[in-house]
Symmetry: C2
């Protein structure tokens, strides 16, 4: 399984993915699920993938080949992240069209994508693309998407994350969300790829510049993640202890 | 959807279920999902249900009719909770055999049950029965089962619950688990039916007496649940605030 989170905050975009992939219990491996398409100062596009690894790899390979061959309308040429979401959706449709999905209808060929980032000329945006090729965009009311094994980590995000949450709290929340997911599901595992794209207002013309992306690679030796994980676990135990016992019955 | 939890602690058994059932978005109703079969001092059997409401109601109806007709081997006659789990499993198989599940293979006719309690002569036990009619029992290493919409509420249980957890902490944890689930999934809702069956050792012969069951009905006006919910929410916010900010990148 996989766990990926994308959050579009007022102050920027956070994208995080785990790296464990399983194709059967005896074949668990590490694959990065975050793919970055970047042209300094001009565009930062992140594709995070979940679902069938063969499908998502084929989609990513096609998108990369189009760039290599400088095909018209490749991801590095598109003017808007909306167009990127559209292209990814169309590529998913094309890939699944090629496969004998009807014949092997007990196999889940499906996949989903988070597409986040910024293309010069527009603000940062964040989309979620479905297996069917359609997609949705975050809003201020719903500023985050999760794909993959999303339920274990959702309660923390529901409680903490809003459009106005500051970056420090949001990062802590994302990592607590990963910690909770990894404790409840062994098929989600370290390392975590974490990216942050800060919003930068260019005061001269009010448009948003594309700032340098911050990134972290969080493995089992990552001191700060271990500290958060331990602090959270012991804090939860204490919080439980501090809840007054209730009189549930006579 | 549904959310049910059963925990077999050293000090007793906790069983809790929500009461919201949806059959399509325009038909959301309240059904109790906990069914109690009780003979004072002799047996306390709880059946908690999740899954297809038609299937689970038919299973429960058959079990109740067997009792009314005093059929041989009905739930009130069986000597062990293992036999009860077996009977429930067989009844599920019989009900699903009757239905055209092959014809309507896009419909999920499946269901699952938690079966907890005690029959005089043995200790308290807790089983989980699957749609296929087979079942598993809790152990000291894995003292709880969840059925229905279980993932949102699992991280809290994973962190807190062990066989030796005291009853007060376990009850708080169960209710926090429900609170988290209801926040993340609107199809799980109040009221909650909560039961606790304390373990009682009869010192004369070392066997375990069956003590009086404690119960609570938790709706939106339940002061203690509201207090836990508010305490937990504000405590989590504070706990986040208290986690030291980390240096994720330069």
């Amino acid at each position: 399984m996989t766990y990926c989170v994308g959050i579009r905050l007022k102050s920027g975009t956070i994208l995080a993915s785990d790296s464990r992939t399983s194709a059967g219990v005896d074949y668990i491996s590490v694959f990065s699920k975050t793919h970055r398409f970047s042209v300094a100062g001009e565009r930062e596009i992140f594709l995070l993938t979940a679902g069938n690894l063969a499908t998502t790899q084929e989609v990513i390979s096609i998108l990369k080949r189009e760039i290599q061959e400088n095909s018209e309308g490749n991801i590095l040429q598109l003017k808007s992240l909306f167009d990127v979401a559209n292209k990814v959706g169309n590529t998913v449709i094309k890939v699944l069209d090629r496969l004998p999905t009807q014949k092997y209808n007990h196999v889940d060929f499906g996949c989903s994508f988070l597409i986040g980032g910024q293309i010069k000329g527009e603000s940062q945006r964040l989309f979620r693309v479905y297996s069917e090729g359609n997609f949705i965009e975050v809003s201020k009311e719903t500023p985050f998407f999760q794909i993959g094994e999303s339920k274990y980590g959702k309660p923390m995000l529901d409680r903490i994350i809003s459009y106005d949450t500051n970056i420090e709290d949001a990062l802590k929340c994302v990592l607590v969300s990963f910690d909770s997911t990894m404790r409840s599901n062994l098929s989600v595992g370290l390392p975590i790829n974490l990216y942050y794209l800060p919003v930068a207002l260019n005061n001269e013309n009010g448009s948003e510049d594309i700032k340098e992306v911050k990134s972290a690679y969080i493995d089992e030796n990552h001191t700060e993640f271990k500290e958060i994980s331990q602090h959270w676990t012991s804090g939860l135990q204490k919080l439980f202890g501090d809840i007054p016992n209730q009189k549930w019955w006579d």
